[in-house]
Amino acid sequence: MRVTFDIVRDGLSSIQTAATSLSEAQLQVASGKRLRVPSDDPLGTRLAVGEHTSIGAIDSYTRSVDSAASRLAAADGTLTDIIDKLTSAIAATTGARGTTSDPASRLAAAATLGGLRDALARDINTRFDGTALFGGTRVDQTPYVQDPVTGVWTYQGDNAQVQVEVEQGHRVAIATDGSSIFQGSDPDNVLNVLEGLITAVTTNNQAAMATGIADLQRTFDRATQAQSRVGADEVGIADAASRLSGLKLAAETRRSKVEDANMAEAIARMNRADTAYRAALSAVSQAERQSLLDYLR
């Protein structure tokens, strides 16, 4: 076969091919990215979209975890205060009971109970970040409100919970039904019980004091159980945070594997492409330079 050398077809095209490889290798090294457009690796791009979405979801769950952790810590601390106050109320009422108490000590006990009632009401009506912790989903309402005329405390919340998802399928309550803790199946809520106890202590009504102590004890038990649930949720979201952190690391690793250039490999490829480019330039210049004309005299 006759061989003819075409500088455009045979020369420039091979230079162009080598230059394209070199340019791509340089871009990878400069940007640190293996994927620049979907056609670089269509399947890899599809995987990368999935990994970015996963990372976005993990970040969102992490924000929920952080927020829920703060609210649970607030609820935990508040329940601790409530339990302390219920203990004090039971102790004060127990002290006022019996044959040894005199009117002055009962009045003092009643005053103590009044103070504890007010403090307990403040605890129960605690707001975190502007929303009530113990009003169910009616977070904008004050959970327990006292009627200024009758002095009766009424629950303003509802019997639902506000839950947030901290990881897929794992929800924790960030606002709970206060009546399930502070009243339960009892005929009256703990604040009204304290109101009754103040009267009972003041009037030395032993039977009412005994009933009141029993009511406080049940509230104490429910508050303790509620705190246990909050504690369990706190542990649960700490575990979730740890899992999310691990999942994010794994997703980032997978994303990086698809998207980012392996720098050692990219630099080696760039060096090879550089050599190939120089070789193409040299080969074309050699081929173009020589002809029979150089040897004819």
Partner: protein, 457 residues
């Protein structure tokens, strides 16, 4: 004496023939870089002796022949149609794919942020900042769909403009081929080969534009048809293609003799551009519309089942058309909701702190509720991006492999028709030596005649 004069004539003819050999080599070298030039070869023949008194009458020039391989040229045109088609697809879709952006920086990121905004609202359903955030992200995701749809529609229009220019170019080439045909039919001698070279270049350019078929005729002219036998050039007559603009799509339809032949153009650059314009881009737009429509419908369903901050039933969150067609271009946050963030529904009961609706909408991010419960919004986007990337990658790979065939066919063509500097240098030397030898012969005869004349004198 008459014998010596015959010898001088023989030498003169030989000198002319060798000089012509030098001219042909010079012509070949002069056209070393002329596109489509077919190398010429001088054809010589011996002039036999007329009687026993002489050895022969020397050499005569039979002609100058162009070394052309019509089969290879036909194959080359065939392959060029495919190569140009793939190049046009790769080039047009290359622009489209860059519009899709990198993973995590396009519509997918906007959807993620939108669902995140509902997750933030679920953390505090009473937060006005979180509600504002939902509206901002809703508008951003809608505008990212709008922009992506615009880019795809623009890419379709650019392909359409390129089709129109391609048809103009094709018509110009057809009329040029018709003109060259008529000149070839009437021309004589060396001019014919030059005209054929020009026509071969025009035919090659035509093959790069569309799937044409070239048929040679006995009178030296060629007929060119397009697609399924639609005439482009018949002898010296060119049949220009027409263009009409569809009143619905605004896209060009290609007419041959008044008949719409758009669907028949499947090769060459115009064929590639038509495929991009009529098949690839519409399929991407359909997928994008499906994603926008299904995502918006799922959001709306949950939003309407919820209650806003005023305790009223939720409105539609996104405004979308009744069907998926055009959904990506038209999706927008309901202006009533956009004007008042309290109308964002987060609650499933009407209670201010309830966040079940916000939670349900945020959960769409991971929920396989699209495409009949088989895909998440991110899955559909990833599938679309994959499709675009795979189409570009396939077109490039196909172009590269076809280009190898074209290069090889060009080498084969050049092995027959191409000019070799080495070969022409050898020819120069060969004819130069022959010229020198014949000049010597001429000198010898002349000297003999001088001797004879001196004897007479």
């Amino acid at each position: 004496m008459s014998g010596l004069l015959d010898s001088l004539s023989l030498a003169a003819r030989s000198l002319d023939a060798q000089r012509m050999g030098l001219d042909v080599a010079g012509q070949n070298l002069a056209n070393l870089n002329t596109e489509g030039y077919t190398r010429r070869r001088l054809e010589l023949a011996e002039l036999a002796a007329t009687d026993r008194s002489n050895a022969g009458r020397g050499v005569e020039v039979i002609g100058v022949r162009a070394l052309r391989d019509q089969y290879v040229e036909g194959r080359l045109r065939q392959e060029q149609q495919g190569t140009s088609r793939d190049a046009a697809i790769a080039e047009s879709l290359g622009v489209v794919e860059s519009a899709f952006g990198l993973p995590g920086q396009s519509v997918d990121a906007a959807m993620t942020s939108f669902f995140d905004s509902f997750a933030a609202l679920a953390i505090d359903a009473t937060s006005s900042e979180a509600r504002d955030g939902v509206l901002v992200q809703g508008q951003l995701v809608a505008s990212s769909f709008n922009q992506m749809s615009d880019r795809l529609v623009s890419a379709g229009r650019e392909a359409d403009n390129a089709v129109r220019s391609g048809v103009d170019e094709l018509n110009a080439l057809s009329s040029r081929i018709g003109l060259l045909n008529s000149k070839i039919a009437t021309a004589t001698g060396a001019e014919v080969e030059s005209l054929r070279d020009q026509r071969a270049v025009a035919l090659s350019s035509l093959a790069e534009l569309a799937n044409v078929t070239v048929t040679s005729r006995s009178d030296g002219m060629v007929d060119v048809s397009l697609g399924q036998g639609n005439p482009l050039v018949m002898g010296s007559t060119a049949y220009p293609l027409g263009i009409t603009t569809s009143s619905i799509s605004g896209m060009a339809s290609i007419l041959s003799q008044g008949t719409d032949i758009t669907a028949e153009i499947t090769g060459g650059r115009i064929g590639g551009l038509l495929e991009v314009r009529d098949q690839r881009i519409p399929s991407y737009i359909t997928r994008l519309d499906d994603l926008a429509y299904q995502m918006a419908t799922e959001v709306n369903t949950r939003h309407q089942a919820g209650f806003d901050a005023n305790g009223a039933q939720g409105l539609t969150f996104f405004n979308i058309p009744a069907t998926s067609a055009g959904a990506a271009a038209m999706i927008a946050v309901n202006p009533t909701v956009a004007a008042d963030s309290k109308l964002v529904a987060a609650s499933s009961t009407g209670a201010a702190g309830d966040n079940q609706t916000a939670q349900a909408i945020a959960g769409l991010r991971d929920a396989r509720v699209l495409n009949g419960g088989t895909a998440t919004p991110s899955d559909l986007w990833a599938e679309l991006v994959y499709r675009v990337g795979a189409d570009v990658s396939t077109a490039r790979a196909s172009h590269d492999s076809r280009q190898l065939v074209v290069d090889q066919l060009q080498r084969v063509r050049d092995s027959v028709s191409g000019v070799s500097v080495d070969e022409e240098a050898a020819m120069l030397m060969k004819f130069q030596r022959a010229y020198e030898a014949n000049a010597r012969y001429f000198g010898t005869i002349s000297s003999v005649m001088d001797s004879l004349m001196r004897m007479v004198g």
